[in-house]
């Protein structure tokens, strides 16, 4: 019985560790190779906290058991979580600064191997190669959870089951929360979050810390259940097993993680029965090979994200059947009325940008009136997208100014620019294909307390109420563009034309007053161009100020109030569309005849 309880404990520990990695790898798309060493840091921290202090009457030093603080077991768990959380923040700092996935692989790999080495060298903390023994088992109200006895081992297994369920619940809750939505957006497009006015660094650091903190906490339970451990327990192999569990099960799928952990957890005991002592290398061959085959044949894993058994069914909101006109009505009630053409919303003054010797924008000045649609037109290389990049802060101009309602916003970060009220779309739609259409739009809605872990934890009711409002707003935005019926479909399954509409709906959901659209119809098949055009005109109906880059003459003539004519980075002319058409030379150059 004790043997099976031990196997159960091992599998539960593997599930917990993998579920925590799934937060990072599955939701945020970042991989950590240091999960094992962080697990070890937690285990040794807990051991040191719980082990009895040095005492004249006991002979700890002689028997090699080692000293500690003599605190209760739960204090050990808390210390383990805090220490590993902080350790992880330190490792991820450079990786997050660089926002590059492969740096995190390198840093965590280096941390894993360096950490293993430190563990064998730092004898004062870990006991060196011989490790630590005699860690007291958990004792609650006189009931022992010692795995040395059968009944204690079963109790420990049950306790571990409870711990695992709590961790799975946390992982599920975070994944489904607005915070999880931020992570899933980060996973697919590094540059998207700043353009939606959300700082990407904080969620990334936090999720790395949480992943590590959970591993540390599990490490504490490992220490209590084993009683003894050495640094070898926490080597690179374990990190790789944890990654394999997540990938085999299905990245981003907790049910897959459970299945993967059970499979890999049973592999060793089963192989041991079949092969005896040869089991160890064969196990690695099996999971290493499985990893390769899975990536080649079924990269989404055994249970791909979103395709498992649905535990909770979402209530359908009335927004799903909302008509476009109803959505317009509702949205216009919350939109600020603006006086069209009264004064410029956005002024660009003498903006210049050169790349090396190539002048992309050479002193462009124009203004975009409030509540109208202004088209930036001109041939390829005229500097239109570069101007967008400079307005939204993703590129610093060499000189010149950008004024928003008269206030200088030149050189502000993309996040700040968005929060001041300018949002943009991208030429490539930058839709997150692996999440639902609804989530794609919801992520853009501002002021979401659920993106903040403290509100998520301490103000759950308020957070949930706001989440309902956010969902409703997102559905309204989708309904306005006629794609609300696809709200619960993964965005990757939509046609390109529909994806463009979702991108515009997302832009509207930001609540920004000034919306910059980069080629909204490029790549859209002719049948859907009309839909996109209607969508853009609805933005004007809602009082938004729109500036768009567009190649389609038809589009500009039909839709735009004004046009700014650019060529080789210089504004050639600007005015109402009619004025420009009347000028013969421009008409020849651009509109043709």
């Amino acid at each position: 019985m004790g043997y099976y309880a031990q196997i159960a404990i091992n599998i539960l520990i593997l599930i917990s560790l993998s579920a925590s990695l799934n937060l990072l790898l599955g939701y945020a798309g970042r991989v950590s190779m240091a999960q094992a060493v962080l697990f070890g840091v937690g285990a040794f921290t807990a051991a040191r906290v719980v082990l009895p202090p040095p005492d004249e009457t006991t002979s700890n030093a002689v028997s090699g058991i080692g000293y500690g603080l003599g605190w209760p077991w739960w204090a050990g768990v808390i210390c383990a979580i805090v220490v590993t959380f902080l350790a992880a923040l330190v490792i991820s700092l450079p990786a997050v600064r660089l926002v590059r996935g492969e740096y995190l692989i390198l840093l965590t790999l280096a941390f894993q191997l360096g950490g293993q080495q430190v563990m064998t060298v730092a004898t004062g903390f870990t006991g060196g190669p011989f490790g630590v023994a005699g860690v007291p088992s958990i004792n609650i109200g006189g009931v022992s959870f010692s795995t040395l006895k059968d009944d204690g081992a079963i109790r420990m297994a049950l306790l571990m089951l409870v711990v695992t369920i709590v961790i799975l619940a946390i992982a599920y809750g975070l994944g489904e929360s607005p915070f999880g939505r931020l992570l899933k957006t980060l996973r697919e497009h590094d540059t998207l979050l700043p353009a939606l006015g959300k700082n990407p660094i904080r969620p990334e650091l936090l999720i790395f810390g949480i992943t590590a903190g959970i591993a540390g906490g599990v490490g504490a339970f490992f220490a209590f259940s084993q009683g003894a451990m050495t640094p070898v327990n926490f080597n690179l192999d374990l990190s790789i097993i944890i990654i394999s569990v997540v990938v085999l099960g299905g990245v981003g799928s907790l049910q897959g993680t459970i299945l993967g952990a059970v499979f890999l957890g049973l592999l060793e005991p089963v192989l041991r029965v079949v092969l005896g002592d040869d089991a160890i290398p064969w196990r690695a061959v099996v999971y290493g090979g499985a990893l390769v085959l899975m990536m080649l044949l079924r990269p989404a894993g055994i249970i791909p994200e979103g395709s498992g058994i649905k535990l909770f069914r979402r209530k359908k909101t009335p927004g799903e059947v909302m008509s476009s006109t109803e959505a317009l009505d509702r949205l216009s009630r919350v939109s600020a009325a603006s006086v069209p053409g009264a004064k410029p919303a956005l002024e660009v003054i003498d903006l210049t940008k050169a790349f090396g010797g190539l002048v992309a924008v050479g002193g462009a000045s124009f203004s975009i009136p409030t509540g109208e649609i202004t088209a930036l037109i001109g041939p390829n290389g005229a500097g239109k997208t570069t101007i967008f990049n400079m307005i939204t802060g993703s590129m610093k101009p060499d000189s010149g100014k950008v004024l928003l309602n008269g206030i200088d916003i030149t050189g502000l970060s993309p996040v700040k620019v968005e929060r001041d009220g300018i949002a943009r779309s991208f030429q490539d739609v930058r839709i997150c294909e692996r999440i639902t259409v609804l989530d794609n739009v919801m992520v853009a809605v501002p002021h979401q307390p659920g993106e903040n872990l403290s509100s998520l934890t301490f103000r759950p009711l308020y957070t949930r109420q706001r989440e309902r409002q956010v969902r409703e707003r997102a559905l309204e935005c989708l309904a306005l563009f006629g794609v609300a019926d696809k709200a619960y479909v993964k965005a990757g399954e939509l046609s390109y034309g529909d994806q463009k509409l979702v991108a515009i709906a997302r832009l509207l959901a930001t609540d920004c007053d000034v919306l910059l659209l980069d080629e909204p119809t490029s790549g859209v098949d002719p049948a859907n161009v009309e839909g996109v055009m209607q969508g853009v005109s609805k933005l004007r109906d809602l009082g938004r100020t729109v500036c768009l880059v567009e190649h389609s003459v038809h589009f500009v003539l039909q839709l735009a109030d004004r046009a700014v004519f650019l060529d080789q980075g210089i504004v050639i002319d600007q005015g109402t569309v009619q004025e420009l058409i009347d000028k013969q030379e421009l008409a020849d150059l651009y509109f043709g005849s």
């Binding site: 490792i91 450079p94 600064r97 660089l98 492969e102 360096g114 080495q117 061959v285 290493g288 499985a290």
Partner: protein, 301 residues
């Protein structure tokens, strides 16, 4: 006394650093072209070592033939990984993470397969001599020069490493094919448009990278032994050299390797030898924090 020790440590540091430079160029070549976090670079490394050791003892190959056989194995295994592992993932536009996971799976399975086939023991490189007996493959002489001692293998390491480094740098910068590697790296779409075949470039780059990893593997087998887990730590040193020295330039990667070697060697003067890996990882960590483009790298435009 301190000076004598310092001189010896500098020489050892140069030997170690030259070896690191070799590893850095091997990984750097593959990484800068393909952006794949090619952890499986450990496989050609081990394949060369086992190829040489096995062919010398079982097929009774003379030393030179065993070494060539080892290098052949390195190239074959390197290309197998590319063709069977990476190409299919690239063909369906797999992410860099997917490619890394393939690499990870291979680097887990392969050493364990080696262990199943050849056992866990350390196998030294031995060849059959004129007397028909299996014996030492070559004489690793020790030369003493003032306070400093250096071995035949040490000298070979320095010479071979820098020949390879400069050879590869010249190949990439001066030949027509080398320029197409650079073209592919800096602008894949444009490179394809002017008729550069991605697959051909990858095959050449992986063959070359695996060959260099194989040379490194042969050094370890000749100086020490071949064992199943020999390759992974050396492969990682290659990674670190690249990111420490600076991605994007092979010369920077190899100089990064040299500096790391000197750092490892000299740090043992003040700290115990057991702290060397910690010093190496620490150096990487601080470099990435303060100078993300690497010690000698140019800032990204």
């Amino acid at each position: 006394m301190q000076f004598e020790l310092l001189a010896q440590l500098i020489v050892s540091g140069i030997v170690l650093g030259s070896f690191y430079a070799l590893l850095g160029v091997s990984f750097g070549l593959v990484y800068q072209t393909s952006k794949i976090f090619h952890l499986a670079n450990a496989i050609p490394f081990a394949a060369a070592a086992y190829g040489a050791v096995w062919s010398a003892s079982t097929l009774r190959f003379p030393l030179w033939l065993a070494l060539i056989f080892g290098l052949l194995m390195a190239v074959i295994f390197g290309l197998l990984i590319l063709v069977l592992g990476y190409f299919p993932v690239m063909a369906r536009n797999g992410t860099l993470l997917a490619l890394f996971l393939v690499s990870l799976g291979i680097s887990v399975a392969f050493p364990n397969l080696l262990q199943i086939v050849f056992g866990t023991e350390n196998i030294p490189l031995k060849t059959y001599g004129a007397d028909g007996e299996l014996g030492s493959a070559f004489d690793n002489n020790v030369y003493t020069w003032g306070f400093v001692t250096i071995t035949t293998i040490d000298i070979l390491k320095i010479v071979v490493a820098w020949l390879v480094v400069f050879g590869v740098v010249l190949f990439v910068n001066r030949t027509r094919f080398g320029r197409s590697i650079t073209a592919l790296r800096t602008n894949p779409t444009m490179a394809a448009a002017v008729g550069i075949s991605t697959k051909t470039v990858y095959i050449v780059v992986f063959a070359l990278g695996s060959l260099i990893a194989g040379i490194a593997g042969l050094f370890v087998a000749a100086e020490f032994v071949a064992n199943p887990i020999m390759a992974i730590q050396w492969t990682l040193i290659g990674f670190i050299a690249v990111f420490f020295g600076g991605i994007g330039s092979l010369l920077a990667a190899s100089v990064g390797g040299l500096i790391l070697g000197l750092l490892s060697s000299l740090s043992s003067l003040y700290l115990g030898v057991q702290w060397t890996p910690v010093v190496v990882f620490g150096a990487l960590f601080i470099t990435l924090l303060v100078r993300p483009q690497g010690l000698l790298g140019k800032a990204a435009v």
